[in-house]
Amino acid sequence: NRYAIAIHGGAGTLSKGMLTEDQENEVHAALRQAVMAGKQILAQGGTSLDAVEAAVRELENSEWFNAGKGSVYNYDGDHELDASIMDGATLKAGAVAGVRNSPNPVSVARAVMNKSEHVLLAGEGADRFARAMGLPQVENSWFGTPMRHSQWRQAQDKAQPSLEPGAEDYKFG
């Protein structure tokens, strides 16, 4: 009756010293909390689907990671979120792209998997589906944080992308 769980909170170029020691400790604590959320479910004989959803929800709820609360800003200063989930036993899967009002996109993805005949819903339709399923809704501005806003300002200042399609679009992330 073994079990195991692994999580990630994003990968990239972490220049040394980007985080203070206190901030690093906060990140480690948030990672531990997410692992624990999934581990508790597995230890009690719960399913791997419930475990990965619980762990990802913890990470979405933490401002330290680019998902859910603390998501980055798009070119227009808004937030568009994506998520997916998949069950290895049945190959059932659910996903959403470009949702704007669901605090936990991974749970909307799971609703797509369990309560629709689709795999991927995108944009306004995905938000409408989340509301139809009675899932919590927030204002789009709820996702913003000072840390991400300053990253967005940096990205905007560095790049003066033309609005012409195909113009070199500065991406930061």
Binding site: I7, L59, S71, V72, A83, D87
Partner: protein
């Protein structure tokens, strides 16, 4: 981007990924996270995978499914599959990022070809590990 993979006591695998996307993205740009087979994949016959990184590369290389396919058809270890995709396929083409995976035996691997990946893991009755760099 965040993600999780798990194997439960019944031996079933699952994967999930969630993201806010890329800072300053426009035109409705979507990366690999919501694309099954790219940002997440789970199959009890092989492994569960969740990825993070430069989405366009992870889409072109169908990374999550590529790891599962290598495992299933080449008989490589989970670690070998992950290393091969991240360092032999992606890195030479500029694809930066990482992935976490668990196979149907419960083996865990966390790999990244960048300076760091926020990660954590734990096995039955084992302690909890976390890492940043």
């Amino acid at each position: 981007t965040v993600g999780a993979v798990a194997i439960d006591q019944a031996g079933n695998l699952a994967a999930a990924t969630s993201t806010g996307g890329m800072t300053n993205k426009k035109y409705g740009r979507v990366g690999d996270s919501p694309l099954i087979g790219c940002g997440a994949y789970a199959d009890n016959r092989s492994c569960a995978v969740s990825t993070t990184g430069h989405g366009e590369y992870f889409i072109r290389h169908v990374v999550a499914h590529e790891v599962c396919a290598r495992y299933r058809y080449l008989g490589e270890s989970l670690q070998q599959c992950a290393q091969q995709v991240l360092f032999e396929e992606l890195q030479p083409r500029g694809g930066e990022g990482g992935l976490i995976a668990i196979d149907h035996t419960g083996a865990v691997t966390l790999n990244f070809n960048t300076e760091g990946m926020y990660r954590g893991w734990s096995e039955s009755d084992g302690e909890i590990f976390t890492g940043i760099y």
